[in-house]
Symmetry: none
Subunit: 197 residues, 2 copies
DNA sequence: TAAATTTTCCGTAGATCAACCGTATTTTAA
DNA sequence: TTAAAATACGGTTGATCTACGGAAAATTTA
């Protein structure tokens, strides 16, 4: 189940080769890359890697090696705390993390916040949901942002007007927060949502 | 089952090593890192950490240590298609998968469906969301289920009455589906939700 | 405080495995 | 039909892991 150092080197070589050429190396190419004097050595590595599930070997076919797509499909991002809980994000040193599907994550760095309150309920964002946030300092009109106003962290839809910034909740019982530019600090953009029942 | 200071140091060393190299250190490497004069010392730490559940040891294999913290915390489940799209689940042979945080997944097998339509909008389930479903054949009252009625797959809240089954949407503009027991087949329970913006 | 227990360490002997080599045989593909 | 490529052995060596027994130091318990 576990790789040794040399086994990982061999696997990495094969993986790289496939990435660059679109087909796997022959056993002889592997042999000469590592300077083995016998093909048996290559065979042994193929056997180990195959048994461990790191490699597929289309038996008896030439260049039939295929690294198992053990590609990272998810990533750990820090769960920094609650949004709309009145606590600035930086204050939290908790090192909790949460696993997130990579397709949610584009470029840039990300973090997660637990949603508290009903202010975005009409957008389908419920109290208790985990919001996946991309670090950002400004936003486009209409985007859902994490913003800090008067030392409170909130999740709202963002609109920049001529002389003010409006943060719209998605809840008919609540009113937009309207502040001057400098009183509102954007901390990130909502890129995903995870809910557990 | 608490760790002593030294035990934590050893565990941290192993964890860091695995994170950086992709394989675990040998016992000898651990020995020399901490300056032990005997491998037996390392053995004792491995034993203690293993018994406490902080470490897995793939016995008799070289570099076979795996800290629990590095273990997989997400899993691939099949994305079978759309719910509320009029297509029975089994018909779909698509092999798409999606990566899901394990904390959503309890016992049993799971699959994912893409939500179509607005029927659960008041529960915060929007069209386009990915619903994480646990395979099941029956449900408790009030649970959100995947059910097949008249060859249509739908996501609704489930209520079993004396002589009928009611499938409640969460949308004021829609009415409950009311059918006899045998006309409604339950295919799974909603356990999680994933949304990308 | 004294006794019991646990943790931490040492050393050695023996078992197992990884990492090689070499040769012979089978299969694939041009 | 052949050369290239892939399998199938068997065997060697050193690295690595396991199993013990013992003993000092630190902690816990009585």
């Amino acid at each position: 189940m576990a790789l040794t150092k040399k086994q990982k080197e061999v696997l990495d070589f094969i993986t790289e080769y496939v990435r660059e050429n679109g087909f796997s190396p022959t056993q002889k190419e592997i042999q000469s890359n590592f300077g083995f004097k016998s093909l048996g050595s290559v065979q042994d590595y193929i056997k180990y890697l195959t048994n461990g599930g790191f490699l597929m070997n289309d038996s008896h076919s030439v260049r039939g090696l295929l690294p198992s797509a053990v590609q990272q499909n998810s990533e750990e991002i820090p769960l920094l705390g609650n949004v709309a809980a009145g606590v600035p994000i930086e204050a939290i040193e908790n090192t909790d993390t949460i696993s997130v599907p990579v397709h949610m994550l584009g470029r840039g760095s990300h973090y997660a916040l637990k949603v508290k309150g009903e202010s975005m309920i009409e957008e389908g964002i419920l109290s208790g949901d985990i919001a996946i946030i991309k670090h950002a300092n400004d936003a486009q009109n209409g985007q859902i942002v994490v913003a800090v106003v008067e030392n409170e962290t909130t999740l709202k839809r963002y609109f920049k007007r001529a002389k003010q910034i409006e943060l719209h909740p998605a809840n008919k019982t609540m009113k937009p927060i309207i502040v001057k530019d400098k009183e509102c600090e954007i901390r990130g953009l909502l890129v995903g949502l995870i809910r557990s029942y």
